[in-house]
Amino acid sequence: MRSRRYILRHVLHAVATLFFVLTFNFVLFRAVGDPVKLLTRSSVHLDPQEQAALREEFGIDDPLPVQFVNYLGDTLRGEFGYSFISGRPVTTSISEKVWPTILLVGTALILSTVFGVLIGIKGAWRRGSTFDTTSLLGSLTLYSMPEGWLGMILLITFAGTLGWFPAGGYESTDELTGFAHVLDVAKHLFLPCLTLTLGYIGEYAIIMRSSLLEVMGEDFVQTARAKGVRDKEVRRRHAVPNALLPTFTLAFYSIGFILGGAVIIEEVFSWPGLGQLTYAAIEANDYPVIQAVFLLSSAAVILFNLIADISYGYLDPRVRE
C-alpha cells in the first residue's frame, strides 16, 4: 500500500515537472519571443505579407490561453512544427538522428559507470594508497576538462597524427553488411565514445569512492569484520552493494549532462546524431529544432529520474518512509 503511494507520488511529481518544462518553453518562445521575429532572425527573409500569413498559421494573434492549449495538444501529439532551414517536419529530422545518439550516449554511460565504479571501489578500499591518490587526482583532472576540447585533442592525436581511427562520421560506406558493418561503425564510434567516457568517468569514480568510504564507517561493516569475514567478502557482500545504490542513482540523474555533452562531441566527430542536429540548429537560429531538442531531452531526463527514484525506493525501503 505504502509502496503504491510512493510510486504514485513520484509519477505525479514527474508529470508536474514535465508540465512546468512545457509551460516554461511556451512562455519563452511565445509570450516573450515572437516566433515570427525569431524566424526573421534566422537566415530566412520574409516580406510583410508572408509575415502576416505566418502569424496566421502560428496562431500568434489568438489569445495566449488558446495558444497554450493548442501548443500543448501539438506537443503531446509529437508535432514540433517545421524546421526554419530545411522546411521538413522537426519530428522527422529527430527520428532519423536519434539512434546514433542513443548508441553513443548509451555506450559511454555504461562504460563510464562501470569503470568509474571499479576505480572508486579500488581507491576507497585502500584509502591513501598510491592507486587512490593517483586515481583521485586523475578523476579530478578529467572532471576539470572541457570534454569538447578533450575530443578535439584526441581527434588530432589519434585520427590526425597517428591515423589509427577515422576522423569522423558514422560509417565509411553504407555498402558493408553484417559483421564488417558492425566493425566499421565501432571504429567510428571509438573516439567520440572514449571522449564522453573519459569526461564522466572521473565523476563516477569520485562519487563511488566517497559513497564507499561512508559505508565503510558503518556498524554492519565493523560487525562483519568482527565476525571474521574475509576482507574480500566484506567488500563484495557487505560494503559495495550498499555503496552502489547512490552511485547508480546519480548515474541516472546525470543522463542529462551526458546528453548535453554529446552536442559538442558529435559536432567535433561529425557523428550524425541529435547533437549535430542541435549544433546546426544553434548556428542557424533554427528555433523549432532547438525547442524540440530541449523538450525531448528534458522529458528523457524526467523519465530517467523517475526510474531512478522508483527503483531506489524498491531497492532501499528506508527511502519510502
Binding site: 519563452l28 525569431l38 548535453g260 559538442i264 567535433v268
Partner: protein, 321 residues
C-alpha cells in the same frame, strides 16, 4: 559549535552595553566584530594550511589571478586587434611567438594571457549571480515557510531536473550573444543547487534560540535575515562558491564551444571555438588548441582543489575519516 560562536557575541554585547559610558575604553562594536572575524579566519587558515591539496590549488589560483591582473603589462591592445596583427597567420611556435599564431597572425600566447581575464571575470560574475539568486530563493523559501516554501521549493526542484545544456542553449539562443548574456545564462541555470543547500541550512538556523530571542525583541524580518540568518548560512554559501566558480568557467567554455559565446571577447573558450571554426582540427594546428584548454583545466582544477580543502575545514565529519 553554535554555542562556541554565539557565547562570545552575547558576552561582547553585554560588555559593550556596560562599558559604553566609560570613555577610556572605546570598545567599538565594529572593532569587536572585526577581531572576531580575524580570529575565525585564523582558525580556518590553520586547518586549511594543513591540506596539501588545498595549498597547491591556492598557489595555482594565485598565479592565474596574478597573470589576469597584470595582463595589460604584457599584452598591448593593438596586438589583439585583427586589422594589424603582429605576425603571419598559422605560424607554429617560434622564439618570437612561443605558442605560434592564430588565423589572423595574433600571438596565441597573448590571446591566452588576455583570455584569463575574460574567463575569470565570467567565472566570478556568474558565481556572484548564482549565489545571490540561490541565497535569495533558498533563504526566503525556508524563512517564510508555508505556501511560499512549497512554491519556491517546487520551482527549485524543477530547475534541478531540467538538463543544463539544453536549457542554456534555449536561453542563450533567445537572448543573443554577449558577455553579459553568457554570465546571465550561467547564473540563471545554476542557482538551483545553491538554493537547495541554503534552504536546508536556513531551516536549521531559523530554529536556533538567538533567532527566537531577536524576534521576541521585535526584530523585523529584514533584520533577522540580514543580521542573524545570512551570517550563519554564509559558510555554506562560501564553500559552495569556490566549486561554483570552477563550474562557471567550464560552463562558459561549453557555451563558447556551442557557438553561443560572445565572438568579440577573447575568453579561453572563444579561443578554442575560433580554432575549431577555422579548421584547426584538419590542419593539425595543435599550438592553437592545446594552451587555452590546458588553462581551463588547470584553473578549474585549482578551484576544485581549494573547494575540497574548504569542505574539509568546514565539515569536520569528512576530516575525521
Amino acid at each position: 559549535m553554535t554555542g562556541m560562536i554565539e557565547t562570545p557575541r552575547q558576552a561582547d554585547a553585554t560588555t559593550v552595553g556596560l562599558e559604553a559610558p566609560a570613555p577610556p575604553a572605546p570598545r567599538d562594536p565594529r572593532k569587536i566584530k572585526w577581531a572576531r572575524r580575524r580570529r575565525a579566519f585564523a582558525g580556518f587558515w590553520r586547518v586549511f594550511r594543513q591540506s596539501r591539496m588545498g595549498m597547491v590549488g591556492l598557489v595555482m589560483l594565485g598565479v592565474f589571478i596574478l597573470v589576469a591582473l597584470m595582463a595589460p603589462l604584457f599584452v598591448g591592445q593593438a596586438d589583439l586587434g585583427v586589422s594589424d596583427p603582429p605576425g603571419a597567420p598559422f605560424q607554429p611556435p617560434s622564439l618570437e611567438f612561443p605558442l605560434g599564431t592564430d588565423d589572423f597572425g595574433r600571438s596565441v600566447l597573448d590571446l591566452v594571457i588576455w583570455g584569463s581575464r575574460i574567463s575569470l571575470l565570467v567565472g566570478f560574475a556568474a558565481t556572484v549571480m548564482t549565489m545571490v539568486v540561490g541565497a535569495a530563493v533558498g533563504i526566503s523559501s525556508a524563512y517564510y515557510g508555508g505556501r511560499t516554501d512549497s512554491v519556491l521549493n517546487a520551482f527549485t526542484n524543477w530547475f534541478l531536473v531540467i538538463p543544463w545544456i539544453p536549457l542554456a542553449i534555449v536561453l542563450a539562443s533567445i537572448l543573443g550573444q554577449s558577455l553579459f548574456n553568457t554570465i546571465l545564462v550561467i547564473g540563471l541555470t545554476s542557482w538551483a543547487g545553491t538554493a537547495r543547500l541554503v534552504r536546508a541550512d536556513t531551516l536549521s538556523v531559523k530554529q536556533r534560540p538567538y533567532v527566537e530571542r531577536a524576534r521576541a525583541l521585535g526584530a523585523s524580518n529584514w533584520h533577522l535575515v540580514t543580521r542573524h540568518i545570512l551570517p550563519n548560512v554564509m559558510p555554506v554559501i562560501f564553500a559552495n562558491t569556490v566549486l561554483t566558480v570552477a563550474l562557471s568557467i567550464l560552463a562558459e567554455t561549453t557555451l563558447a564551444l556551442l557557438g553561443l559565446g560572445d565572438p568579440l571577447s577573447i575568453s579561453w573558450g572563444i579561443i578554442i571555438f575560433d580554432a575549431f571554426d577555422a579548421g584547426a582540427l584538419s590542419a593539425g594546428l595543435w599550438w592553437w588548441l592545446i594552451p587555452p584548454g590546458v588553462c581551463i583545466c588547470l584553473v578549474t582544477l585549482a578551484f576544485t582543489m581549494c573547494g575540497y580543502a574548504i569542505d574539509e575545514v568546514l565539515n569536520p565529519r569528512i576530516r575525521e575519516r
